[in-house]
């Protein structure tokens, strides 16, 4: 059975919103949690979960399953020898079904499959940063557009025909790029390069076709 299908089975259950599997030493085997959970936030959670297991093992009795219920959702933590499975569920989720399906998944997690999952996760790490800026691409642009950009000043030579001032027309875009640069520098870089490549044409070289003293 394909490994990813085991986790698909969990996510197929109504009300289940995410699942992930990580090792006691912090290595991530598979992460199917909602995309709004950033890596930093999850790193915090991972550290706390490991601390909780260690403390309870040392000071209470070793317990493998923890169900933490909150106002709208719950977290189910299931530990085996070397890894912890975390399931995020909502109010609609059936806990008994979740336990049943996760039992089956945990049973299939052999060391070979774990090694395979870890290799896949490691290979995906360099590219993992790529999807994040994709989500941000939608954000800076409206912000830059919303920023009050200075109105283009017509070139002196073309003062009589302000509608035909192509060279200054690039100014608002460069201002917009400059505005969003601090917000998403990595994202803005290709745009800024593209803008820089399109060198502004000197106004003296702009040829406007005229008909009886008026542009046409």
């Amino acid at each position: 059975m394909e490994v990813s299908k085991l986790f698909d089975n969990i996510l197929d259950l109504p009300g289940i919103e995410g699942v992930c599997l990580f090792g006691a030493e912090g290595q991530m085997y598979i992460n199917r949690l909602p995309s709004f959970l950033s890596t930093e936030l999850f790193a915090d959670a991972q550290r706390r979960i490991v601390a909780m297991y260690e403390t309870m093992d040392d000071n209470f009795i070793p317990c493998d399953d923890y169900m933490l219920k909150f106002s709208e959702r719950w977290l189910l933590l299931r530990r085996t020898d070397k890894h912890v499975m975390l399931i995020l569920g909502g109010e609609k989720a059936n806990l008994a079904s979740t336990r049943m399906v996760t039992n089956m998944t945990l049973k299939h997690l052999t060391p070979q499959i774990l090694a395979q999952l870890e290799a896949v996760a490691r290979a995906a790490v360099p590219g993992a940063a790529v999807p994040a800026p994709r989500m941000q691409t939608q954000v800076p642009f409206p912000a830059a557009i919303a920023a009050p950009a200075p109105a283009p000043t017509p070139a002196p030579a073309l003062a009589s025909v302000p509608a035909f001032a192509p060279a200054p027309a690039l100014a608002p875009m460069s201002v917009a790029v400059a505005t969003m640069a601090p917000v998403a520098a990595s994202l803005a870089a290709p745009v800024a390069v593209a803008v820089a490549e399109a060198e502004p044409v000197p106004t003296e070289q702009v040829k406007v076709r005229m008909y009886r003293g008026r542009p046409y």
């Binding site: 959670a45 309870m56 000071n59 009795i61 923890y66 909150f70 995020l88």
Partner: protein, 120 residues
């Protein structure tokens, strides 16, 4: 007509404290209540000493774990070991921990605990 053997004095039930009600529930073997600072307020039954030591810490960490996922208002935790289960509930600013044996019907017992604590 009610025979004397079937009759239960309602006052007997009413006079039960929430702790007694919880301890009388089937398959409950221990109860501990701690203040927010970790002081043990009530402790009855078996295996509660060790639970009392970690109960407040556990609740704090559970709350923090939830916050990491954007979850607020920690309501309940079920800790399942091989031979026993612990139910942890926030109560009156502190924590209540109830130890159940493996035969306990968890949902029913949790409801009963909640009712008893609500009546306190």
């Amino acid at each position: 007509m009610i025979s004397m053997t079937d009759y239960t004095n309602p006052l007997d039930t009413m006079s039960n404290t929430p702790v007694q009600q919880i301890m009388q529930a089937p398959n409950v073997i221990g109860y501990v209540q701690c203040s927010e600072s970790g002081d043990i307020l009530v402790q009855e039954g078996n295996e509660v000493d060790v639970l009392a030591n970690v109960l407040v810490y556990f609740q704090q960490v559970a709350t923090l774990i939830g916050e990491s996922f954007g979850l607020e208002d920690f309501q309940e935790a079920q800790i399942q070991g091989k031979s026993l289960t612990v139910v942890c509930l926030p109560h009156a600013g502190g924590s209540v921990g109830v130890i159940l044996n493996s035969r306990a019907r968890l949902n029913e017992t949790v409801n009963l605990i909640r009712q008893a604590l609500a009546s306190a």
